[in-house]
Symmetry: C2
Subunit: 308 residues, 2 copies
């Protein structure tokens, strides 16, 4: 693969994505796998990385920039957190290099909020934010839904603070490992979207009673009040509604929220935020990660595109 400026890797807990990027940041090739951090040990990271680069015939001297959980303590090599307030365009200055890598590899750090009353960490989202707001004013509130959703308060391109809500993981844990699994086993029904919206409304109207809502999914099914195939929509709506209510309680909701997400999850959060009275400015999460990694690479290797 000629013409590549760098390889960019978003290496999460359960997923691996790699792009070869040209000097303008455009993707030349892509690889995706489920070889996330949680299945690897220290030595395995370099081997997995090289196998994907070889599959794309990447040059032996092509440098690689990595964001995500590969930089966690239990990852490839720990990239210590940058603390809030954190300037997005300076995060790359604190990257680390794994020893014994077959080529130049830089792992970007995450961001920590060292507030004893609201401790929080992110790894990877700071790079998505850098990509989302490259060259623009990111002031306001960004919602980044996922396994661990992040709600990020920004001034310019500085992270002032953030809050994590384990919405995706709570959905999986409650939906698969409690009595609600009976209600979620049915295939999704026609009324699922309406059930989702109704549940968002209930969670927004009375978030302080959230925990009394979950068993009603089961009881409503047993007593014939719930339409078939609505359990998943209701549980999702309760949790996303509760997440938005928590964000509202912590810092208030602005008129417009920047929603960094892809696919069906972007639609769900867009719908839920509208029910909370917010318009959304949508940014694709995949594109933001790629753009953020490219922005970090151009800061790490500012002269490289001239050299090639």
């Amino acid at each position: 693969m000629s013409g590549a400026f760098c390889a960019a890797v978003d290496w999460g807990t359960s997923s691996f994505r790699l792009w070869l990027l040209d000097a303008s940041g455009a993707p030349l090739a892509e690889r995706r796998s489920d070889q996330g951090m949680s299945g690897l040990t220290g030595g395995g990271f370099g081997t997995v990385l090289e196998s994907h680069l070889a599959a794309l015939s990447a040059p032996a001297d092509l440098p690689v920039v990595v964001c995500g959980m590969a930089g966690a303590r239990q990852g490839w090599i720990e990239a210590p957190y940058v603390d809030t307030p954190a300037a997005l365009d300076r995060v790359a200055d604190h990257c680390v290099r794994p020893e014994h890598a077959a080529r130049e590899v830089r792992i970007l750090p995450g961001v920590a909020q060292r507030d004893p009353a609201a401790p929080d960490v992110m790894r990877g989202e700071e790079t998505q934010l850098l990509g989302a707001f490259a060259g623009q004013d990111g002031a306001g509130l960004a919602c980044m839904p996922g396994t661990h959703s992040k709600w990020v308060r920004l001034s310019g391109t500085r992270i002032d603070g953030f809050s994590t809500v384990m919405t995706g993981e709570m959905f999986a844990a409650l939906g698969h490992h409690t009595i609600l699994s009976h209600s979620l086993a049915e295939p999704e029904g026609e009324a699922a979207a309406a059930a989702f919206a109704a549940a968002v409304r209930r969670a927004l109207a009375r978030p302080e009673a959230l925990v009394s809502e979950f068993f009603r999914i089961r009881a409503g099914g047993l007593l014939g009040f719930a339409a078939p195939g609505t359990g998943g929509g209701t549980l999702s709506g309760l949790l996303i509604g509760a997440e938005i209510a928590a964000a509202r309680a912590l810092a208030g909701l602005p008129e417009e929220v920047t929603l960094i997400a892809s696919g069906a999850i972007a639609e769900r959060y867009g719908t839920a935020l509208a029910l909370a009275g917010c318009t959304t400015r949508r940014i694709d999460a995949d594109g933001a990660a790629r753009a953020g990694l490219f922005a970090a690479a151009t800061r790490l290797w500012p002269t490289r595109n001239r050299r090639d």
Copy 2:
């Protein structure tokens, strides 16, 4: 075993308890096992019951009264719910008899709240309440903690309404099947009780932000703000605090709450309710189940103690 008036069985999802009771309701013998409903099929119930009765040399004509999930649709035989408002001392009038049982067996029904906005069901707790309030005025609010905690509003010995919170099941699901499992894997530390109380306070003070608290258990550990071995206490405190806050939001908290629980869980809820400003009147859950089954038996077989 001579002198037995009846056998009384509390047959739950994951547990089986049987007592032989004399004509005054005092226990003559007891059996406990993990042969709950979830591991049995229709025919298995009778076999399990007879094996425990044989182990106690129970007479062949001793009648048996059963409460709990054995009466669920997927149990031994369905005992259709009695609806709220439900008079506790009349629930036994709606019991069912399994066919082909080797002796007289009566399965007590559960109670349903057929409110489309707050559908709810219980099976077994109605019998504990009958035992707890036999001959007394149970007016007020009863808290019955557990896998599925019940909060029950009573007038006299009538159930006016109730609400289920899946606190025990949520603790297990979030503690074992999310990233919080890392924080809960440590042995409980000295600071766990203080962490529990602090978490109850936070959940009571700001229940609308509950879902933003969970990930802080993990992040607080990573950033060094959480004392070792406090993850379980914090998660428990957040969930119990949220449960009490939900009860407060739904129906208000009276000055005194009747707490029907046993052992360590009774201590935890007593502490948490005190932090919410409530005194507690404590009733042992095991004794309440046994007393409730006896009260149902004397209604089912009013002449039997004279006959023996």
